[in-house]
């Protein structure tokens, strides 16, 4: 841990997080050491005149801040060591003006040349593929289906995709700036809307960061209820994806069955927690409301019902030749490629990368639950489907354990006043992968100087471009869905 950088100080909070301020040399040296030791780059962002990087080590998170003063602020490039850093650095340049010195790709990323203070031009220089019979298919930002906006540029020969280049940033809403405008307690609502499908994961990470900065300890019952919400969010999303993946492979009956299960699931969430998608159920200091008296029984019964149906549907999926023909071998990211590119979360686990924060760094109450990680080595659509089935089964087990062990007591506590310039970081394992929030208070302790909410989609979007290579264009929606990455969570 201390080998990564000098002057690391342990921050208070639920998760082990070390922080240090560095210079240019140690910044690069730490990245080299992290890469050599197999640490993952969790996030890289700019805030308050500094570049920030967060690395996941077995012992915990190391957060480094590099002051970048001057007329044209810059920091050393990390994308040669961590490919995922490329787009994060381009976003940092767009949002904070901190450039990555010596980076291979310095094109604007989130800046489309439409803000009052834009530095980017209107035309984006896509990488051209030329040769006999090569043509381009531009898609988006408005898509044929009901999905978020983004632009995809396919270079194809016949049906085969030679190269895919994505251009994102269409849903950029100025979230990082908005965090600094809102009162920190109210900004939890914003955290819950960074990516609507991961509202619990992001709000919890935000609260963890805020509570760490304020030195507030959340009551035990609130932690258990938060975990209950997080596992329910995971299952809701997996059920939706499993249906949609069937549908994208031409199996509409799968969509009908899974969307029925998902609807039952959301309705009980509404009955027990007050919101179908569980928005605003996690709040600073605890949770918004306690479980109603009959809630636990209803939740248990639903777990039993879904488990039965899931078994039947898995048999149907596994035994359906047409479906398996579309799933197997499609959109493959093999383990070496996944490791090289830093694939993370659910998609990473389907490509042999055994990382799940609930197992690697179990925070309360997960340290009591002994979470079993689901992994697969094939890295294709079929593997991502299999991991989803396995994770639903495991989360059902966790939900029962959480309900059985739910401690008594209050479900929220008021926040303490933060120290001036207090820092805080929080991490959770959302359904898509690790969500991290890092924030800093201002000198008065009343407002946030910066807040970065990091969705794992940042890491996985570039890998999607590799997963598609060599596949046929009609398989793109299926491959894309099997990753199901967030546009909003990435565009910020």
């Amino acid at each position: 841990m201390t080998a990564l950088a000098s002057g690391l100080a342990l921050l208070p909070g639920d998760m082990p997080v070390w922080h240090a301020r560095t210079g240019d040399g140690p910044w690069l040296e730490a990245a080299h050491r992290a890469a050599r030791s197999g640490a993952r780059l969790v996030a890289l962002w700019g805030g308050a005149g500094e570049a920030h990087a967060a690395y996941a080590l077995p012992e915990g998170l190391v957060w480094l801040s590099l002051p970048c003063p001057g007329e044209s602020p810059a920091c050393p490039d990390l994308s040669a060591l961590f490919p995922a850093a490329g787009r994060m650095q381009r976003a940092m340049a767009d949002l904070c003006g901190i450039a990555a010195r010596g980076a291979a790709d310095t094109r604007p990323w989130l800046d489309h040349g439409l803000w009052p203070d834009s530095r980017a031009g209107r035309d984006y220089p896509f990488v051209r593929v030329s040769g006999d019979g090569v043509h381009e298919i531009p898609v988006g930002p408005v898509h044929a289906g009901i999905i978020e906006p983004g632009h995809f540029r396919f270079s194809v020969v016949g049906e085969k995709v030679l190269r895919l280049e994505a251009r994102l940033g269409y849903t950029h809403k100025g979230i990082s700036r908005r965090f600094t405008e809102l009162a920190p307690e109210d900004a939890c609502r914003l955290a819950g809307r960074v990516s609507g499908d991961s509202t619990v994961a992001t709000a919890w990470a935000y609260c963890m960061a805020l509570e760490a900065a304020c030195g507030t300890h959340v009551p035990e019952r609130a932690r258990w209820l938060r975990a209950l919400l997080l596992e329910r969010e995971r299952i809701a999303n997996h059920l939706g994806d499993l249906g949609a993946l069937g549908n994208d492979a031409g199996f509409a009956a799968g969509l009908a069955q899974f969307s029925r299960l998902r609807e039952d699931w959301l309705r009980l969430s509404k009955d027990c927690f007050g919101h179908r998608l569980l928005m605003d159920c996690v709040k600073p200091g605890g949770v918004a409301a306690d479980l109603p008296p009959q809630g636990a029984d209803a939740l248990r019964r639903q777990c039993d019902r879904v488990e039965r149906e899931l078994g039947a549907l898995r048999d149907i999926y596994d035994g359906h030749a047409g479906l398996q023909d579309r799933f197997l071998g499609t959109g493959r990211v093999d383990p070496p490629l996944a490791t090289a590119l830093g694939l993370t979360g659910l998609a990473g686990r389907a490509s042999g990368i055994a990382a799940d924060l609930r197992c690697d760094q179990p925070w309360a109450p997960y340290e009591r639950l002994d979470v079993r990680m689901a992994t697969h080595r094939n890295g294709d659509v079929a593997a991502r489907v299999a991991v989803r089935f396995d994770e639903v089964a495991e989360s059902l087990r966790l939900l029962r354990a959480l309900l059985d062990g739910l401690p008594a007591g209050p479900v929220a506590t008021p926040l303490n006043t933060p120290a001036e310039n207090a820092l805080g970081a929080g991490r959770t394992e959302g359904w898509r992968g690790e969500v991290m929030v890092a924030l800093a208070f201002d000198a008065q302790g009343g407002r946030l100087r910066f807040c970065h909410a990091h969705d794992p989609s940042w890491q996985n979007w570039p890998v999607l471009e590799h997963a598609v290579m060599g596949n046929i264009v009609p398989d793109f929606p299926l491959i894309n869905k099997s990753f199901n990455l967030s546009y909003s969570g990435h565009d910020l």
Binding site: P149, Y170, R177, R178, G196, E263, E309, H320
Partner: protein, 176 residues
């Protein structure tokens, strides 16, 4: 195959009765599916544009097509192109980066056309507000017929918003 048939038979048909159009806007009671069919001679074609949402609204739009709400059974259908659409369903505070795309989608629709803005963001800009990166509410960019609040609005509210827009306009301007 028998497993699939058994699963389908066991699950049954969970479709529920559709919501009524909003009484505040309704002139008289009608059978909407019949009315849509009578006026258009086909399903109402809906084009969805996410103009910058957090994707929460999209999750609930998808839910309207599940067997409980059975959107297509009501004579409503999502289509892939604005050129086929009678109604534009817009979510999100409109990001600067989606402003042009939203205008062009709207321009590409045949007349007469309807616009429903969905969610607190579509109605007011929501928690994201207005700023250098966002245009705020949908009506700041294109004219809106019906705005449905909620964060996100639940599937019944979404259907109600669509049906309200249709019903009001069937009377007012003879959609189709």
């Amino acid at each position: 195959m028998w497993r699939l048939l058994r699963q389908i038979a066991r699950a049954g048909i969970p479709s529920e009765a559709p919501p009524a159009a909003d009484d505040a806007l309704r002139q008289q009671t009608q059978d909407l599916a019949r009315e849509i069919l009578h006026t258009l001679g086909r399903a109402l074609a809906i084009r969805v544009v996410d103009a910058g949402s957090c994707n929460g609204c999209e999750l609930e739009i998808h839910a309207t097509a599940n067997p409980y709400y059975n959107l297509e059974g009501l004579g409503l259908q999502f289509v892939a192109s604005p050129r086929h659409a009678d109604l534009l369903l817009v979510t999100g505070p409109v990001s600067r980066h989606m402003e042009v795309a939203l205008r062009r989608t709207h321009d590409a629709m045949p007349r007469p056309r309807l616009v429903v803005a969905l969610g607190d963001c579509g109605c007011t800009g929501g928690i994201f507000g207005e700023g250098p990166a966002t245009c705020g509410r949908v009506s700041n960019v294109i004219p809106v017929d019906v705005a449905v609040p909620g964060c996100p609005p639940e599937p019944r509210a979404i259907l109600q918003g669509i049906l309200t827009a249709v019903q009001r306009n069937v009377h007012k301007r003879g959609l189709g």
